[in-house]
Amino acid sequence: MELLTIAMPKGRIFEEALAILADAGIPVPDDLTKETRKLILTAPEAQLAFFLAKPMDVATYVEYGVADLGIVGKDVLLEESRNVYELLDLQISPCRVSVAGLPDKDTVNGRIATKYPSIAEKYFRGIGEQVEVVKLNGSIELAPLIGLADRIVDIVSTGQTLRENGLVELETITSVTSRLIANRASYQLKYKRVNRFYDQLKKHIERRGKVD
């Protein structure tokens, strides 16, 4: 059996991603936990290797083929437009990419702060509005509060962070769940293994969907 390498996203979706693999009956190494400092973990008897990566980088690893498969949010796929196969909606970590801002504030400078410059640019062009996009790497909610930008484009799941900072969700750009992605060459060369992996996850998701 050939080795299958899977890139896992650290952070927000890690635990749910891990749980869905384990629940679907995929042998996950015991030491693959949120606390681990190791970057590469293997389940040798199952010929599986996992490595942990920043969510934004998962699609890049998979595009270059250093990982055969990856689990990644749809937000990353939309932002990075990497050349990978998007195989399966895992239906975990649901959230949305939204436009938010201060309530009742006229937009003056048309500036948008975001971690997702290309999603933002594409969205505003699509609705016929020219904006100036400022890329930030975190604490996006700060930008309208201190006057760096009128509005932000960011991930919203419960909306709590927005509320706590006095911001309101203005428009939803797209809803987001996590996806199973595959490298183009791996998908074609290891299709039997990839198909088995896919079937296992898909069956589990369908079962779970029925229970809910």
Binding site: Y64, V66, E86, D89, N183, R184, A185, Q188, L189, N195
Partner: protein
């Protein structure tokens, strides 16, 4: 920002001796295979007119490097080799007997996004079979690609074949809305199978949808295609027949184990008109070759001709060829200045015997000596 002395434009690369040796070795093996199948090498200019070759090319215009020529015409760096060859075939080679079998080794140029890590200069080695319609030509190309990959000692590889008409027919038969069909195709172009499947599940004919999803799994035996021969759509039947005949021919070569059919595989849909193929090999995350049938290109150069072709992407192929290219053993010939003429004569003699000889003055020597490294 002004460039530092060591920098190259984004996406361009140098080729140091070791890599150059391997590239030339692969090219020479490919040339040998292509020639032995009756293909002849051609070369075309690096610059073309944006209005002619640029417009006809399968590559989108925003990916082309543009410059302004002497006559103020807009020029492009050739973005692919197929369109320039079509121009040549329909002008310089228009009186040649058809079919024409041509090959090339050339760089093509495409602009890349910043920090995407993609190449702007791509080395390609490819073939075009012009003036021959039908599956015989398509199968010849597949077999030629496999033979060429074997000659380059490529790690375990696979050719994946799709068919524009097969997909079009299948989608037409289950999805009456042209808009939705365009959306489905768009999902496939972006390799978003989640979106593709979700939209298919919304369609009425659940049974037909399930059939299509079943077909979407890697088809590694031609028997999987046989049910399509009784499909209600003529388009589907015709395309399936073609794929099966291609498969039959490849069986005669003994090459069928290298093949998979993926009905979702799509190239540029405005360009390819029939079979489309991509090749993958162990150890490289990207396609090592792509190509297909493009029967509509030639009419843009004044004479409609059926044509089919493929190109190896050398930048990717080189990583998966298990070819060792040793640096040739060097012999240094030391000589005292006064014996230069004799040293030159000796070096000629040694080179004729196959040695690689470098001349080196050495006045501590009293006579000519040579040493192999």
């Amino acid at each position: 920002m002004s460039p530092e002395a060591f920098e190259k434009p984004i996406g361009f690369q140098d080729v140091p001796p070791k890599l150059a040796r391997k590239k030339r070795e692969i090219e020479s093996r490919l040339s040998h295979v292509f020639s032995s199948w009756g293909y002849q090498e051609v070369m075309t200019p690096m610059l073309e007119y944006a209005e002619t070759v640029g417009r006809a090319s399968a590559i989108s215009e925003d990916k082309m490097f543009r410059l302004i020529g002497q006559e103020r015409a807009m020029l492009i760096l050739r973005p692919d080799q197929t369109a320039p060859i079509a121009r040549m075939v329909n002008s310089l080679l228009q009186h040649e007997a058809l079919p024409l079998r041509l090959f090339y080794h050339a760089s093509v140029f495409r602009t890349q996004e910043y920090a995407a890590g993609r190449r702007a200069e791509l080395y390609q080695s490819g073939v075009e079979l012009i003036g021959e319609p039908g599956v015989k030509a398509d199968a010849e190309l597949l077999a030629l690609a496999i033979t060429a990959l074997q000659a380059c000692q490529t790690s375990s590889f696979r050719l994946v074949v799709g068919h524009v008409e097969l997909l079009r027919g299948l989608l037409e038969s289950i999805c009456p809305s042209e808009e939705q069909r365009a959306q489905l195709t768009d999902f496939l172009i972006h390799r978003d199978y989640v979106g593709f499947e979700a939209l298919l599940q919304q369609l009425e004919d659940k049974e037909a949808v399930a059939d299509i999803l079943q077909l979407c799994r890697g088809l590694d035996h031609k028997e999987y295609l046989e049910p399509l021969l009784s499909h209600s759509s003529n388009r589907v039947v015709k395309a399936a027949k073609q794929l099966i005949r291609i498969w039959d021919i490849l069986e005669d070569y003994g090459y069928e184990s290298y093949l998979t059919v993926d009905i979702r595989l799509l190239g540029n849909i405005n360009y390819y008109t029939g079979m489309y193929l991509e090749g993958f090999a162990d150890g490289v995350g990207f396609a090592i070759l792509s190509g297909g049938r493009y029967d509509q290109l030639y009419e843009q150069f004044g004479r409609p001709l059926p044509a089919t072709g493929f190109a190896f992407r050398m930048n990717n192929l080189i990583e998966t060829c298990n070819i060792e290219c040793m640096e040739p053993k060097k012999t240094t010939l030391f000589y005292p200045k006064l014996q230069r003429k004799a040293a030159i004569a000796k070096s000629k003699e040694l080179r004729e015997l196959g040695y690689t000889v470098v001349l080196q003055i050495d006045d501590t020597q009293t006579d000519i000596v040579w040493r192999e490294e």
